[in-house]
Subunit: 389 residues, 2 copies
């Protein structure tokens, strides 16, 4: 694979590139910049000011399980779930992390006994988020190991099943699928369970639920994630992992999270707000527009198809609507066995199916990137021919 | 051990407590709030403003090895080392982390081959920073394992030696000590190699050097650390670890780091600045005063002693001076075999010698805490009697 000269490639599984380099457009990563115009228009209203002597201590609240979490962070998390209605928070402990990636690892360490005679198997239904296995394999832990597709799991050994819903990469609403009689534990990755992506049909209520600032409002650079955890022992061990990994979570980012989530909740609680001016309504409009344009583009060339999603009633927006996932999971039609290589010839970078435990006729394409990149994608897809030299 | 009721104790090796709870004073952790008054006086001058739409992307600079590091972060790191003269930066790659703790783990993963037939032994000369072994043991990696005191290492197996200088807990300037003929690699933890703690005698120049915002200016809550790394492959693998652990480092904190380090460097480059108003001079004055008071207090009761440090010429402050470590490493004199328990009876919490691979007649006491806690420590130490009921 050709990598643009001015870009840096750590290795073949972790390429980080600019959105556009010469004529190459990169839709591999899910950088959520699609929502940036909303925040740009409200740049000052949502500004955060941190004084020279603010937030200097490691400590935030020694009486909380998660001692490095600002009390205001906890309040903001409770408030946003109460406004959106996407998770049950009443009986939960909250742990803040450096993005939900760090919390995913924290949850694995918390669920695996340190004296286990063999590593616990970690599985997820294919197609599964490609980073799960990359994270687990890189760590090479004695405590857990990647074991692939949850739908195929039939060992009589303890396991952890990852349930990502709506699923990355394919946007499907997921339930646990392991049928084994062995003892299993669940981690629910709900990064995309927000109204701009999918109807909010119920308050999610699971043992461990992961959420992130990156995908809720688009503030990925702040690296704030949070876990809602039922069992205090699990929350405690997750906190211990975060203490030993990074002595907690950046308070500057926590403070910004508090400001933005607080003002966003205010806008919903203020009856004077015009609905079109509200963030999740804006976000949903953006996602729907992009999905309509993408479907039109692939319909024109008939090289790729994308699944349709069932409609459901959203308790938050009070309307019935489709899912508009953060990624398109495209299937190459007849003759397109290697969808990634096909798109590479059109100078389009995407993530290939086998990274997700699926066939190479599938690729994942971000729906969250900048407008110019997305529009260029539409142009290239709609003009695509079956034979590219 | 009695734990104050309003505090949370994750486990016996990771207790996080308030500085004062009822009459118990906590000098276990090294929370660097001693420098806070300096920043409070300059609260507005060093303020950071982040607009609603700033810093939203994961990406910072795709052409840098460390793609999530803001270019301004890199410039600030180069500039502070050039102002202070404590590290050679010319031939180094820079990797930013969520504190130096995360970079320590990143360095271990980067130095251990993923296909190694057995875990690499990690050692540090005793007394060593207690968190090294806690971090390594918690992770339970197949790639590396804790092997204790570097001075005793005599295996003919590959190893990594951690060199912390000035050393946490005892403030001693350290060199590598392993005598084995096996292949060894070094990680230098230079968190305390700043002018307020020790004379800057030379530009440190090693393969991997770790620094942190927490101990340089006292902004621990921001969780910003950085590594200066000679080998691009090592820097690349460290970056990959940070990508998989937390998809990079909070940009809000990076921005605040840039603001504070930039203004601090400006104050040194501006010839109008009064020396007494400069941060490192202030910090050194604070540390010297505390050390003089501590020495007077322990001299009065003669229960504990602290080592004396040789004087050296500091190239930065242009004067000869002692080391004023961030921790006091106190030795219980005759009859005080268990120094931690002795101090516990005085309602003083400290970290015990065996956590550092040393005897229980030693304890580590932070010199960086709030004034009221430090003054209470002085009062209790100076009035201490040999027999406490």
């Amino acid at each position: 694979m050709v990598v643009a000269k001015d870009s840096y490639s750590p290795d073949s599984n972790g390429i980080i590139l600019s959105p556009i380099t010469n004529s190459i457009i990169n839709l591999d990563q899910g950088d959520p910049v699609v929502f940036e115009p909303y925040w740009k228009k409200r740049s000052d209203e949502y500004a955060t000011v941190i004084k020279g002597n603010d937030l200097m201590s490691y400590m935030s609240n020694p009486s909380d399980v998660c001692w490095f979490m600002l009390p205001e962070t906890k309040d903001a998390i409770k408030r946003i779930h109460s406004v959106v209605g996407n998770a049950e928070i009443e009986d939960k402990h909250i742990v803040v992390g450096t993005g939900s990636s760090q919390l995913f690892l924290a949850a694995l360490f918390a669920l695996c006994p340190s004296d286990s005679p063999q590593p616990i198997n970690v599985v997820a239904q294919a197609p599964y988020y490609s980073e799960y296995q990359d994270q687990i394999r890189f760590l090479s832990s004695r405590l857990f190991q990647w074991d692939g597709d949850a739908a195929l799991y039939d060992k009589n050994e303890p396991y952890i099943e990852l349930v990502c819903s709506p699923n990355n990469p394919d946007g499907v609403i997921q339930e646990p699928v392991v049928k084994s009689e062995a003892k299993g534990k669940l981690i629910h990755d709900l990064a995309y369970y927000w109204p701009q992506y999918t109807p909010i049909t119920h308050k999610a209520d699971h043992d461990i639920m992961l959420f992130t600032f990156s995908k809720s409002t688009g503030h990925a650079g702040s690296r704030i994630g949070w876990a809602l955890v039922k069992d205090v022992e699990v929350a405690t061990k997750m906190t211990r992992f975060l203490q030993l990994s990074s002595i907690g979570v950046a308070k500057d980012s926590q403070t910004r999270f508090v400001k933005i989530i607080g003002a966003l909740c205010d806008s919903y609680n203020n009856f004077g707000s015009a609905e079109s001016e509200l963030f999740f309504q804006y976000g949903k409009r953006r996602m729907r527009e992009r999905w309509e344009k993408l479907r039109a583009a692939i319909e024109q060339s008939k090289i790729f198809t994308a699944a349709n999603y069932p409609k459901a009633f959203c308790n938050f927006t009070n309307e019935s609507s489709e899912t508009y996932p953060g990624f398109a999971w495209l299937k190459g039609e007849e003759g397109i066995e290697d969808a990634k290589s096909y798109l590479r010839k059109l100078n389009i970078l995407v993530r290939e199916g086998n990274r997700f435990g699926a066939g190479q006729n599938h690729v994942r394409v971000t729906m969250l990137g900048p407008d110019d990149v997305f529009n260029e994608l539409l142009a290239r897809l709609s003009n695509a021919k079956r034979d590219v030299v």
